[in-house]
Each structure stands twice: as C-alpha cells, then as structure tokens.
C-alpha cells in the first residue's frame, strides 16, 4: 500500500506548512528583538521604535528630525536597527513621509550606510519614498541622492543652484575641492578667491585624512555635500567617510592605555572617544605614523575654526562628538560608523 507521506501532494503541503511556521517564528523573534536569523546567539535588542514588521517587509519610518548634527541618537538608533534587518535579509522600506527636517549630514550617512551594506551583505533589498514636507523634499531631491541609487526619479530632477550635489570619491580630488570653494564664492557673492582658501584646504585635508587614516586597505570612500542656507546667509558643508574612525586610528599614549585598563573595573575611567577626537583636533602628537610632521590636517581645520574662518565645526566619529571653536564634547550611546565633519561658512 502506498503511504500518504510519500505522495507529492503531502510533500508540498508539508513544505508550505514548515515555511509558514518558520516565518511566524522569525517575525516573533524580530518583534522581541532577540537577534537576526542565523545570529540569534548575539543578542541585538532593537532600539528604534518606529518599525512595522510584517511577513513580507519591514517598514521603518525615519526620524522626523533626520539630522545627525541635531538628533544623533535617534538617527543612529534607526541605522542600528537597519543593520539588524539587513543581517536578517529582510526587505526594508524606508518611509520618509514623516520627515520635516533633513540635513546634508544625514543624507550622506544614509548613502554611506547603503554603500556599506552593498559591499558587506547579500540578498537584501532597501527601498523607500521621499519626504512630504516641501522643504525637506526639496533638499532631499536636490541633494543628488538618486544619482547613487537605482531609481525611476533619479537623474532627471532639476538642480537647485543653492545645492552642491553629493560628490563621492576614494582619493584626494583637488578638482572637486575647487568646485566646493567655487560654490561658496558664487553663493556668498561678497567672497573672493582669497577668502575661500580655507574651504579649499579644509576639503583637501578631509580627503587626505580619509585616504591616509580612515582605511587600512587604502580603499577609502568619502562623500561630501554643501548647501546655501538663504535664511541664515551661510553655506553649510558636510564631509563623511565610513572608515575606521578617528578614535580607533589615532596613536594612543601611555595614559590612554592605563585608563583603558582601569576602565575595565571602573567604566567612568575609560578614555572617552570625544576626548580622543579633541586631542587629535588640538594636534597633541596623535599621528599613528609616529612622525611629528604628520597629522597636521585636523589641527589645521581646528585652527580655521578658532580664527573664525569657518563656523560651527562639528566632528563626529565612532561614539564621540566634538563641537568647536568653544570645545564641547560628548559621547553618544549609539555608534557612528565613520567620521563626519560639518561646518558653516558665513
């Protein structure tokens, strides 16, 4: 007699049933935040609240204040959970409709994270819409974001002369640095070539830092964007790389090592990332090459900030945030992947 369990019909039913059960378990695990598929022993609690998990898709609403400079914790919590769902090979939908404030730094970070997942993960899909708010939508569409992702909207969007669209590179590119300086000159009409030299050299310093310090394998990538803020009459720049970060690449001194050992017993004693960044900005002999004639790029940028040639300088790297010229330091709870420099030119 033929057994029922050997029939094709039964086998198909059985496969469908086991898939259903597995999927229910996955959704349940994700909702409880135990860990992504295949990584369940690593406990990665979900920390971003605005997520809707369904059977086929994970819909993530971006923070309404989508700005790393103004709202770092929420934005980084969002990207922390994106990592989780990418590892889980989920289809992710970025819902951007609720955004009412968006800044250049966050757009660059989103792009760098997409690039990171593209080179580190397989079988994932991220798609999304764009903000409903008119100003936020205009900034996003004019940023040139769609030039770097697959999209139907993409390249046909008309360009806003107040926005220098996103540039990407993996080397020091003097032509792009010159374009950035020229953009500032055109928008701040009273400025001449002499005044924009600090912009140009800051850009070259940033690109050189990416190339020399941010990556071990010399395959570094950077993104930059600038926008003229008409209401405040200033040009805002953002420069980002997703490399190894300042705190992990600068030279540690004996005091840092001692404090880090003490930090295993007393966590407050541990060297904070923001202090390491501050130290690098002040040029306290932190070049990993060991040569005093190296590592002058960040101190130069800090000097420009102190002399008032650039304004509102902010440096974010790993967990640390440093604002200049009046040094304000803080550490974040969520990790920033890479280094961001942002500043204004008035």
């Amino acid at each position: 007699m033929k057994k029922i369990y050997h029939e094709d019909k039964w086998k198909k039913y059985s496969i469908r049933r086991s898939r259903r059960v597995l999927n229910r378990k996955r959704v349940s695990i994700i909702r409880r935040g135990i860990g992504p598929r295949g990584h369940s022993k690593y406990v990665t609690p979900l920390i971003y609240s605005n997520v809707k998990v369904t059977k086929f898709q994970t819909e993530m609403a971006l923070p309404s204040n989508f700005s790393i400079i103004n709202n770092p914790e929420e934005v980084l919590a969002f990207f922390h959970d994106v990592d989780f769902f990418v590892k889980d090979k989920r289809n992710i939908w970025f819902s951007m409709k609720g955004i009412n404030n968006i800044t250049e730094d966050a757009i660059l970070y989103m792009l760098s994270q997409l690039d990171y997942h593209r080179s580190n993960s397989r079988n994932y899909k991220i798609s999304g819409d764009c903000p409903d708010d008119a100003v936020a939508q205009s900034i996003f569409l004019n940023s040139g974001f769609y030039d770097y992702v697959k999209s139907k909207l993409s390249k046909s969007t008309s360009r806003d002369p107040n926005v220098l669209t996103i540039k990407k590179g993996n080397n020091v590119n003097p032509v792009v640095a010159g374009e950035v300086a020229n953009f500032a000159r055109v928008n701040l009409s009273r400025m001449d070539k002499k005044d924009s030299k600090s912009i140009y050299s800051t850009m070259i310093e940033c690109m050189a830092n990416t190339n020399n310090h941010a990556y071990n394998n010399k395959d570094g990538k950077w993104w930059l964007m600038a926008r003229y803020d008409q209401s405040n009459k200033k040009v805002r720049f953002a420069f980002l790389d997703n490399g190894l970060t300042i705190p992990s690449t600068i030279k540690k001194n004996l005091k840092d090592y001692v404090l880090n050992i003490a930090g295993t017993i007393l966590p407050t004693a541990k060297v904070r990332d923001c202090n390491l960044i501050e130290s690098a900005l002040k040029g306290e002999f932190r070049s990993k090459t060991g040569y005093p004639f190296r590592g002058k790029g960040l101190p130069k940028i800090y000097e420009y900030s102190n002399s008032g040639r650039i304004d509102n300088l902010a440096v974010i790297s790993r967990y640390g945030v440093v604002n200049a010229p009046k040094i304000r330091t803080s550490d974040m709870e969520n990790r920033f992947r890479g280094t961001l420099l942002s500043w204004d030119f008035i």
């Binding site: 010159g178 002499k194 310093e205």
Partner: protein, 111 residues
C-alpha cells in the same frame, strides 16, 4: 635667481602629500620643480616661490614639498635658498619655514 609660480607652472589646485593620494601632490611638485635645483650641491642661487593665485594649500602639500626637501638636502640649505611670496595669505611663508625647521624632529631625537 629662478622663479617658480605655483599657479602658472604647476596647478591652480594643489593636492595632498603623496603622489598615491591623488593629482598635484606635494611629492609631485617637489620631484618636478625642486629636486633638480638641489641635486648639484654647489648650487647656491636663490629660488623664489610665488604662492598666490591658487585655490589654497593643504598642510600636507606644503610639508611634503618643502619639509620633504629639507629632509633630503638639509634644513639650512633650504632656508638659505628659498624666498616665499604670498600676498593673499601672509602667514604662509612663516608656516612653510616652520615645516622646514621641524622637518625631521623625530629623526634627530632618535640619534
């Protein structure tokens, strides 16, 4: 005396330190425009460097071009022979001389 105008002779957009970093680097400038004048140890004519007119300079460019040259041929020789002209950024000549003077601090302390 010979004159090197960086804008006219080299580039309006000087780059970073090494040739591997990208175009118009300090190393490239040193190799193409400065090394030749120092190869002959007896040469003592002055070299005027005009810094004006470019988009600007990164510290790494200046350090590698002039500090790098001083590491090769000696500080004093470089200080004696260079004359820097910069009307747009008056602090630049002083800064470059500083790079030359401190070009090999670590090497000296090691000795």
């Amino acid at each position: 005396m010979i004159t090197i105008d960086i804008l006219k002779d080299f580039s309006a957009t000087p780059g970073a330190r090494y040739i591997t970093d990208g175009p118009y680097s300090g190393e490239d400038f040193r190799d193409r425009f400065l090394d030749g004048h120092f190869a002959d140890h007896a040469a003592d004519y002055k070299i005027k460097i005009i810094l004006d007119g470019t988009e600007g300079y990164a510290t790494s460019f200046l350090e590698e071009a002039f500090g790098g040259l001083a590491r090769k041929y000696g500080k004093q020789r470089c200080l004696d022979r260079f004359e820097f002209i910069s009307e747009e950024e008056e602090f630049l000549p002083r800064e470059i001389k500083d790079y030359i003077e401190h070009c090999n601090d670590k090497l000296e302390t090691k000795k």
